[in-house]
């Protein structure tokens, strides 16, 4: 208990840092949850266009204009300068001009194309898709149908057909997205809390003179090291428990489901890996200022590279490849699988393999730690 008690007292002396890192996860995860729009609803918006019909006398041209009126917001602007201004100020996304003799040329199989001036942005692209869809159908039917009314009827039937879209997912996407946001941000705070505190505490206990004083004492040195390890593990468990409770407060009942348990298990495995990394770093007996700098570089660097702050899909292929060397990447991968997998059972092999990679990192850090501390002890 002597070692554990001193361990707690040293942690208490650094409690401000724990509060800061916890505050970071609350603020950033909280803000991201507020701005989250992954709520499963879809609302389509009509692009705003100007249609200039130079073939008013044609039924085909008038029908094309009507098709555009049904699918777009039609603006009323006249005069070249006003039209250019409207395009420049994005009041409209494009100007579609139906050329003279459009209807007659279509019936004659000349496949005329309407002229289009656009801003080149998303809405304009969507309008082009709408327009080309109509024109393509019109030209195909015009090859076989020579009667204008019949052609119009057939084209209208074809373009009015819509595909049925059914949302098959049973997932509560909204709450899972919140959980994903929370646990992704938690990776940074968790890593900071563990790395910073464990490295600082161990730098005190591993101080050469304090070690010497411990070795000459009647305390069994193996027992002493075991006490230190158990104290560290207890701290890690306490941090995991705290972040789980905080998660429940911020996310709600999602954490009480199987997926919630898997998020927490993933967090625990990641925490143990981080503890091993902290043990490895502490073997270098760095000064306390250097520890602060090093921990910031590791936590911020790996968080940015592995998709903690920015979704990993937004990152380049090169960065993604580099991210593989960090445990955080595998933690985030598991978090994403837990969030998006329709059938968790089917994704279990991926989850297990990612977890095994994290355990592999843990073993690697422990081996490296033993090697370095052995070398250091020999030099001392």
């Amino acid at each position: 208990m002597t070692v554990f008690s001193a361990f707690l007292k040293v942690i208490k002396k650094n409690i401000v840092m724990i509060i800061i890192y916890t505050g970071i996860v609350i603020i950033f995860a909280g803000l991201n949850m507020q701005t989250d729009n992954t709520n499963g609803k879809f609302v389509s918006e009509k692009p705003s266009v100007l249609v200039i019909n130079n073939d008013k006398g044609s039924e085909i041209s008038n029908n094309f204009e009507k098709y555009l009126e049904d699918n777009c917001e039609i603006a009323e602007i006249s005069g070249d300068e006003a039209i250019s201004d409207a395009l420049f100020y994005r009041e409209i996304c494009c100007v579609i001009t139906i050329p003279k003799n459009f209807g007659r040329d279509t019936l004659n199989g000349k496949s005329p194309a309407p002229e289009i001036r656009s801003t080149g942005e998303g809405d304009a692209a969507f309008t082009k898709i709408l327009m080309s869809r109509y024109i393509r159908v019109l030209n195909v039917y015009a090859d076989d149908i020579s009667d204008e009314k019949e052609l119009i009827k057939s084209v209208n039937e074809a373009v009015s057909e819509k595909a049925e879209v059914e949302m098959t997912t049973k997932l509560n996407i909204s709450s899972l997205a919140k959980a994903s946001t929370y646990f992704n941000f938690a990776a940074y705070s968790l890593m900071s809390c563990i790395l910073f505190i464990i490295c600082l505490v161990l730098s005190s206990f591993n101080n050469l003179m304090i070690r010497k004083r411990t070795i000459v004492s009647s305390k069994n040195y193996k027992k002493y090291n075991f006490d230190l390890f158990m104290s560290s593990l207890t701290y890690v468990l306490a941090v995991c428990f705290f972040f789980a409770v905080l998660g429940y407060i911020m996310i709600g009942d999602t954490l009480l489901t199987v997926r919630g348990a898997m998020y927490i298990l993933n967090m625990f495995i990641f925490s143990v890996t981080t503890l091993a990394l902290a043990y490895f770093l502490s073997t270098f007996l760095l000064p306390k200022n250097a520890i602060t700098g090093l921990v910031n570089v590791i936590t911020l660097g790996s968080s940015f590279l592995c998709g903690v702050f920015v979704p990993i899909d937004f990152l380049g292929e090169g960065i993604k490849a580099i991210a593989h060397i960090f445990p955080t990447y595998w933690y985030i991968q598991n978090s994403e699988i837990i969030t998006t997998a329709e059938n968790l059972g089917a994704e279990l092999p991926s989850l297990v393999s990612n977890s095994l990679i994290l355990i592999g990192f843990t073993i690697l850090f422990v081996i490296c730690g033993i090697f370095v501390s052995g070398k250091k002890r020999k030099i001392a």
């Binding site: 208990m1 002597t2 008690s5 001193a6 007292k9 040293v10 002396k13 650094n14 005190s204 101080n207 003179m209 304090i210 010497k212 004083r213 411990t214 070795i215 000459v216 004492s217 009647s218 305390k219 069994n220 002493y224």
Partner: protein, 313 residues
């Protein structure tokens, strides 16, 4: 019969080509303060580290309390306290918590520990600083805390490795008095230092080592007898004739007289009232002088006599 607390026989420690300790043998007896004196690199720390099993030695044997000392000899370690030269405390713990922690490595019982910690705090005189953190303490107080951490569990054998380095005179006296009190309370003490005056002040016996070997040992007085030089009397005189110098050379026990920069230094090989005799001589010859003082031989003179070099080289 006086009990042997430490028995070192033929201790050898080699670092590749270097023989840091070369066949060292000595005993330390119960309730004595023994001083281990030697220049840097003489093998003092290697000897202590070997005794404490912090180092694996090449040859020889070490017994403490009659039992062989080994790294896992926890029953022996229970009775040993060590005060290292460098301060070894936690910056994050208060004075009280630091002492309690290090005492806790030996004593499990909380009540007993509390009592022991209070005793240690009182012994080194840091009662007013219990809730202070090490960073808030002066160098002297920090040294006292370092000592309290090493002796709180009331060990029977205590190693002090240069505990007064960079300590103010008040703290130094406090520390030395504390060490004497520990001896009076029944502890045996092995004390290493550079400061000869400290060794002379508190040690019952002195071992002088150089290049890993014991070159002399005994009490302060017996060691000083090894030096050929005796008392030195220095007199500040404005003007002195050669005839007077010759006359002084003829005085009893005088072995040499030098006169330079108005300072006359007279060396003796014995005699008890040399300074009184010199004052009488100066008065009888009507020689006026500003000041006169006497210097007894030091352990440095002994070391110089035996090795031909200064102790602090």
């Amino acid at each position: 019969m006086i009990k042997k607390i430490i028995e070192v026989n033929g201790l050898v420690k080699e670092y590749k080509q270097l023989r840091a300790v070369d066949g060292l043998s000595f005993d330390v007896y119960e309730k004595e303060i023994i001083g281990l004196l030697g220049p840097n690199g003489s093998g003092k720390s290697t000897t202590i580290n070997s005794i404490l099993s912090l180092l694996k030695y090449s040859e020889g044997s070490i017994k403490i309390f009659g039992k062989e000392m080994k790294p896992d000899a926890y029953d022996i370690k229970r009775e040993i306290g060590v005060i290292f030269q460098e301060v070894a405390v936690f910056e994050e713990l208060t004075v009280y918590d630091n002492i309690d922690y290090f005492c806790g490595l030996y004593i499990k019982d909380k009540k007993q520990r509390k009592h022991y910690v209070e005793d240690a705090i009182n012994l080194v005189g840091i009662g007013d600083y219990k809730k202070f953190y090490p960073k808030q303490l002066s160098g002297g107080l920090l040294r006292r805390l370092n000592i309290a951490c090493g002796i709180a569990h009331k060990p029977k054998l205590i190693f002090f490795d240069e505990p007064t380095v960079a300590v103010d005179p008040q703290s130094r006296n406090n520390i030395l008095e504390g060490i004497k009190k520990l001896r009076d309370d029944g502890a045996t003490i092995l004390y290493t230092t550079h400061y000869m005056e400290e060794v002379e002040q508190i040690c019952d016996r002195i071992i002088i080592i150089d290049k890993g070997k014991i070159i002399a040992s005994g009490t302060s007085d017996s060691l000083k007898k090894l030096a050929k030089v005796g008392e030195k009397i220095t007199v500040e005189i404005y003007k002195l004739n050669d005839s007077i110098i010759e006359e002084i050379k003829g005085l009893k026990h005088v072995i040499n007289v030098t006169y330079d920069s108005n300072l006359m230094v007279v060396s003796y090989d014995g005699g008890k009232n040399n300074i009184a005799d010199m004052i009488d001589f100066l008065r009888n010859n009507e020689i006026s002088y500003n000041k006169i003082y006497s210097e007894r031989p030091t352990l440095n003179d002994v070391f110089l006599e035996i090795t031909g070099k200064e102790l602090r080289d």
